[in-house]
């Protein structure tokens, strides 16, 4: 099962991950994702900086689970244009 989550902060995400203990899940911390790209001039000089989400994104392949672990479901989400996927 694959879950995509957006936590309120990096600290909250790290606490949730730490609470899982040693495990066989695959956890990818994406951080504060870029929601609007930066722009550049013709010489590749940055004109505007990117705008990042205030939420902290984490994607997980839950090995052996068919539902979100306790305390994770509230933060799960289904993005329209995912910024990350698994092979």
């Amino acid at each position: 099962m694959i879950g995509k989550y957006e936590f309120d902060s990096k600290e909250q995400a790290e606490a949730k991950i730490k609470a899982l203990g040693i495990n066989s899940h695959t956890i990818v911390t994406l951080g504060n994702l870029i929601i609007i790209d930066g722009t550049f001039d013709e010489n590749d000089v940055e004109i505007t900086t990117p705008i990042r989400s205030e939420l902290y994104a984490v994607d997980v392949i839950w090995r052996g689970l068919i539902d979100h672990p306790y305390g994770w479901k509230y933060y799960s989400m289904t993005p329209n244009n995912p910024k990350h996927s698994f092979l």
Binding site: S24, H84, F86, L87
Partner: protein, 405 residues
């Protein structure tokens, strides 16, 4: 008597199925490893093609020659968008792949089938001209990335003329040709090579990654093909991770565990043997261990975090009893490492030579090991290597016997 008779567990890059890497011995299945990888992954098959293995299927990789290895890699991601160059159209100047742009377009582009057949590779052809594509990538702060590609060139040309980046402020870049650190003005050889840049960032920001012909400002007459581009948050190249859209794509780590039962080990007296190439020469300890299902009681072969160092480690009740150490020429080359333990004697052999003996401490009083794992017994410090062979004996091999392996 043949040593084969004494082997309790013998595993080579041989038979497999979903979630299983078969061992040659024992033949009753007790020595088979459980293979874990939460995603698909690619590897080079015996024909030289890059192909995909399904989730939990071990990869028998032929990238180092005709003898396959069991490929055990860390998790990684490819940050490049559209690494398969879809959308590219052959022509003069041609059309760049989707999400890539021309930086210079003074030559021709030919779209060919990649070594990974589901993708394309790009051939740049110039006649005293420059022809370059680029992609804009956002890099995080305080991170090491490796940007790498397979190239085929008919011209010995400086690295910086075919692969370059404008990285965030403060970033350092180290260049490599076929894994050997090189100056960016060093010419690549004609024919096939792997070129890469290790980018270590201080601050976050955009990086423009360029590849093609004539990036540094000179014009050339050349034909150069680029294939399997990968930008990953690791200091070395791992197996190819194909990407299609702008979405970052990740591969999960490999693990092989749970080989053997208590009948296959003797924690009082034994030999652990590994013939393999480490994927990287330093960084974090990487472990193959016979253990009791924990890291507390184990006999381990360790690729140390210190460059080109290997250890034989015996741990009892959570206390390290002995650490035999050897510094060798290159852990990323094929090495045969053996660790023996009995009573208060611990010995580490590398390529048939005794490297270190420790005669203090003591092994456990009873047989407690029941599993052979590509980690330290608690699902941490996973082995990252190309594995030719793993052997476990419930006796101490002699120097002559180790030398014969």
């Amino acid at each position: 008597m043949s040593l084969y008779t004494d082997i309790k567990i013998l595993t080579t890059a041989n038979g497999y199925k979903v979630d299983k890497l078969y061992s040659v011995k024992p033949t009753n299945g007790d020595g088979d490893f459980t293979a874990i990888r939460n995603t698909t992954a690619t590897y080079e098959n015996s024909s030289g093609a890059i192909v995909s293995a399904a989730t939990d299927v071990p990869r028998l990789d032929y990238s180092d020659g005709s003898c396959p290895t069991v490929l055990l890699e860390p998790a990684s991601s490819n940050i490049f968008s559209n690494s398969g160059f879809s959308g590219a159209v052959s022509g003069t100047p041609g059309t760049p792949p989707t999400y890539w742009d021309f930086n210079k377009s003074g030559g021709s582009l030919t779209v060919e089938t990649s070594k990974y057949s589901a993708g394309n590779k790009l051939k740049f052809s110039t006649s005293n001209a420059r022809h370059i594509v680029k992609e804009s990538i956002y890099l995080n702060a305080s991170t090491t990335y490796l940007c790498s590609m397979l190239v085929n060139s008919d011209l010995a040309i400086a690295l910086r003329e075919i692969l370059y980046t404008s990285s965030p402020s403060g970033a350092t870049i180290v260049w490599y040709i076929n894994g050997v650190e090189s100056n960016f003005s060093t010419n690549i050889p004609t024919g096939d090579s792997v070129i890469s840049m290790k980018i270590t960032t201080v601050s976050s920001g955009y990086s423009q990654v360029f590849f093609g012909i004539g990036i540094y400002g000179n014009s050339f007459t050349a034909n150069i093909t680029f294939d399997l581009p990968q930008l990953e948050p690791l200091p070395y190249r791992t197996s190819y991770i194909p990407t299609v859209t702008t979405s970052l794509v990740s591969r999960a780590l490999d693990s092989i565990i749970d080989s053997g039962t208590s009948a296959d080990f003797n924690s009082v007296s034994g030999t652990l043997y590994l013939k393999a190439k480490a994927l990287v020469s330093s960084g974090t300890d990487r472990v193959l261990s016979a253990n009791d299902g924990t890291a507390a009681n184990s006999a381990s072969i360790v690729y140390d975090s210190v460059a080109n160092t290997v250890n034989g480690v015996y741990t009892k009740a959570g206390v390290v009893i002995a650490t035999c150490t050897a510094v060798i020429t290159d852990v990323t080359a094929t090495n045969k490492i053996a660790f023996t333990y009995e009573g208060s004697s611990f010995k580490l052999y590398v390529n048939g030579s005794l490297e270190h003996t420790i005669s203090s401490g003591s092994v456990t009083a009873s047989n407690v090991f029941n599993s052979l794992d590509s980690n330290q017994g608690d699902n941490t410090l996973h082995l990252e290597a190309k594995v030719y062979e793993i052997q476990s004996y419930s006796k101490v091999l002699t120097l002559l016997e180790v030398a014969s392996l």
